[in-house]
C-alpha cells in the first residue's frame, strides 16, 4: 500500500509524498469528514444515553461518597445505610426473592418449554395462553396477586380447600412468606420470557443428536440430562442472567403488594429518596448495582470455567 515509485507511474509519484504527512496530521479530521453522516446519525442517541444514563449513574456514585451538607468525601452514607434494619431486610428480601423466583422460573419454564417442543393438538392455543402474562403490566401482575395473598385471599382458600392448611396464613409479612408471595407473582409474570428463550434453544438442537443417543440406547432421562441440558446451556445462561438481573431490580410488584412492609432494594432506595435522604439512597443504589455486577461476573466466571474444564 506504501509509495511504489516504480509501479505507481507518473500520476502516483507526485501526490504520494504530500498525501502521507497530510493523512497522519489530519487523519482524525478526515475520518470525521468522511463519516460525518454516520456520526450525525449516531450523535443524538449516544449523547442521550451518555447524559441521561451514564452521567446519572456516576452522579449516584458521587452522591453516595459525599457528605450531605458539606460535600466532603465520606463513607458515612454506607455506614448509615448498612446499619438500618430496613436495609438489611431489603437486602435479604431481594436475594431471597431472586433465588426463589428465578429457580422456580427456570424449572417451570424449562418444563413448559419441553412441553411446547412436542407436537400435539392445541399447541398453538397452549402457547398463546402461556405467553399471556407477558402482555400484562408488571404492576397488574402484582395487583392481581393481592387477591391471592390476602388473609381472605384465594391462595389461603385453595390451600384450605385442598386440606393443606387448617387456618388461613397471613402471607403479607416480612420474611420467607413475604419473599415467597413476591417471588410467586414474579414467577407468573416472568416465566413466559424464560419459556420463549428456552424454547428457541430447544428448537435449535439438531435432531440427529437424539438419533445418535437412541443408537447408544440412552433412555429418556439420560437423553435429557446428557444431551438436552448441555446443548441448552447457552439459552439457560441467557435466560438466567436476564431474569436474575430483573429480579434483583424488582420494584413494581413489591411496591404494589407490600409497599414499605416488605422492602426490597429498589423500593428501599425509593423510600429513602422520598424521605429526602438522597445520599444514603444513592449508597443503597450503588450496593444494588454491585450485587448485580457481582452476580453476573460470578455466574459467568463459574459457569464458563466449569464448561472449559469439561472440555
Amino acid at each position: 500500500m506504501g509509495p511504489q515509485p516504480t509501479a505507481g507511474g507518473v500520476l502516483a509519484t507526485p501526490s504520494a509524498p504530500s498525501a502521507v504527512p497530510a493523512r497522519s496530521r489530519r487523519g482524525f479530521g478526515r475520518w470525521l469528514k468522511r463519516n460525518r453522516l454516520e456520526i450525525a446519525l449516531c450523535a443524538p442517541f449516544a449523547l442521550y444515553v451518555t447524559f441521561f444514563m451514564f452521567v446519572p449513574v456516576l452522579q449516584s456514585i458521587y452522591y453516595s461518597f459525599v457528605h450531605r451538607g458539606t460535600s466532603d468525601f465520606t463513607f458515612d452514607n454506607y455506614r448509615t445505610v448498612v446499619n438500618q434494619s430496613q436495609f438489611s431486610d431489603a437486602f435479604w428480601n431481594t436475594i431471597g426473592i431472586t433465588i426463589m423466583g428465578v429457580s422456580m422460573e427456570m424449572v417451570i419454564g424449562l418444563g413448559i418449554a419441553l412441553m411446547l417442543a412436542r407436537a400435539f393438538r392445541g399447541r398453538g392455543l397452549f402457547r398463546s395462553i402461556v405467553l399471556i402474562p407477558m402482555g400484562v403490566p408488571t404492576l397488574v401482575a402484582g395487583a392481581a396477586m393481592l387477591y391471592f395473598i390476602g388473609f381472605n385471599g384465594y391462595l389461603n382458600k385453595l390451600l384450605l380447600d385442598l386440606g393443606i392448611i387448617d387456618v388461613p396464613v397471613y402471607w403479607q409479612q416480612s420474611g420467607l412468606r413475604g419473599m415467597f408471595v413476591i417471588a410467586l407473582s414474579d414467577l407468573w409474570k416472568a416465566t413466559p420470557l424464560v419459556v420463549l428463550i428456552l424454547l428457541a434453544g430447544l428448537e435449535a438442537i439438531p435432531g440427529d443428536v437424539y438419533e445418535a443417543a437412541d443408537v447408544d440406547g440412552a433412555n429418556g432421562w439420560q437423553k435429557f440430562w446428557n444431551h438436552t441440558i448441555p446443548l441448552l446451556m447457552p439459552a439457560i445462561t441467557m435466560a438466567l442472567i436476564l431474569r436474575a438481573i430483573d429480579a434483583f431490580r424488582i420494584f413494581d410488584i413489591a411496591m404494589v403488594i407490600a409497599g414499605q412492609a416488605i422492602p426490597v432494594m429498589s423500593s428501599f432506595v425509593y423510600f429513602d429518596y422520598q424521605a429526602g435522604r438522597t445520599n444514603t439512597a444513592s449508597a443503597a443504589a450503588v450496593i444494588l448495582l454491585l450485587m448485580i455486577v457481582v452476580f453476573v461476573v460470578a455466574y459467568i466466571f463459574l459457569v464458563e470455567r466449569r464448561s472449559e474444564v469439561e472440555r
Partner: protein, 294 residues
Amino acid sequence: MSSTTITPATQPAPAAEPAFVPKRRLRPGDILFWVLAIVVSIVILTPIYVLFKVSVSTVAQATAPSPSWLIRSVTWDNWNRLLTWDVIGSPLTNSLTVATGTAILAVLLAAPAAYVISRLPPRSRYLVILAVLFTRMFPEVIIATPIATNFFRWGLNDTNLGLMMAHLIRTLPLACWIMIGSFQVIPRDLEEASFVDGGSKISTLVRVVLPLGLPGIAVAAIFAWLDSWNDLLYAIYLFLTERTLPLVTYYYANRGTVTDVATFSIIMTIPVILITLFLQRWIRSGYLSGAVKG
C-alpha cells in the same frame, strides 16, 4: 437399494412435520401431559379471571372470608363509577401522551444510530450490542435518583415531557437493539443498487432503508410505547400526584380499595393485551416481503 425406499415409509411424517400429530393409542404419559397442560393453563389464566371477578363484585363480596371461585352475581358499579371522565380522563390522557411521545422520540433517536450500528463490521457491531445490553445491569433506581434531582432543578418534574425523557432512558437501548436486528437483514445490495442509480446517502436511507426497516421500527415503537405505558418507577419518582394510570393503580392499591384496584388493573391491561396480540401477528409476517425478489 430397497432399504432406502422403505425407510421413508416406516418413519412417517412426525419427525419432519411437527404440526402433524400421528394417530395412536392414548398412553398414560399422554394423559399426564394433557393434565399438566390444562393445569398450567388454568394457573396462568386464574389471576386474570380473579381480577375480572373482583372488578364486577361489591367490596363486601371481594373481602368476604372464603371467597367463591365462581362469579355468582355481577355488578357493574365499579366500572360505571371509574369509567367517567372525571376519574379516568386526566391519567388516561397523560398515560397516552407520555407513551406515544416516548415511542416517537425513541424511534427518532434510536433508529439512525441503529442503522449505523447495523452497518458496522460484525466484530464491532457485536461489541456495541453487548454494550447496549450491558446497560440493563444498571438498576433503574440508581438512574432515577439523580434524574429526579436534576429534573426538579430544571423544572421538568411533574411534567409529561420530563416523564417522556425519563422513559427514554429505559426504552432507547431496547429500541436500538430491536432495530439493529431488523436493519441488519436489509441486504446491502439494495443500498448499493440505489447508489449506482445515482442516489445520495440520505436519499438511499429515506427511499430504501426506511421502508424496509419499517416493520422493525414499528415493533421498536410499540415496545417503547408499552414500556412507557406500564412504568411505575420513573412516574413515582417524578410525580407527586396521581398523574398516570400506573400511579392511580398503585395509590388505590396502597389505600386498599380492592375492587377499584382490580378495575383499574383491567383498564390498564386491555390496550396492552390488544397491542401484544397485534404485535405477534406483525412479527410473524416476514420483514422483507419480496423486496429482494422485486
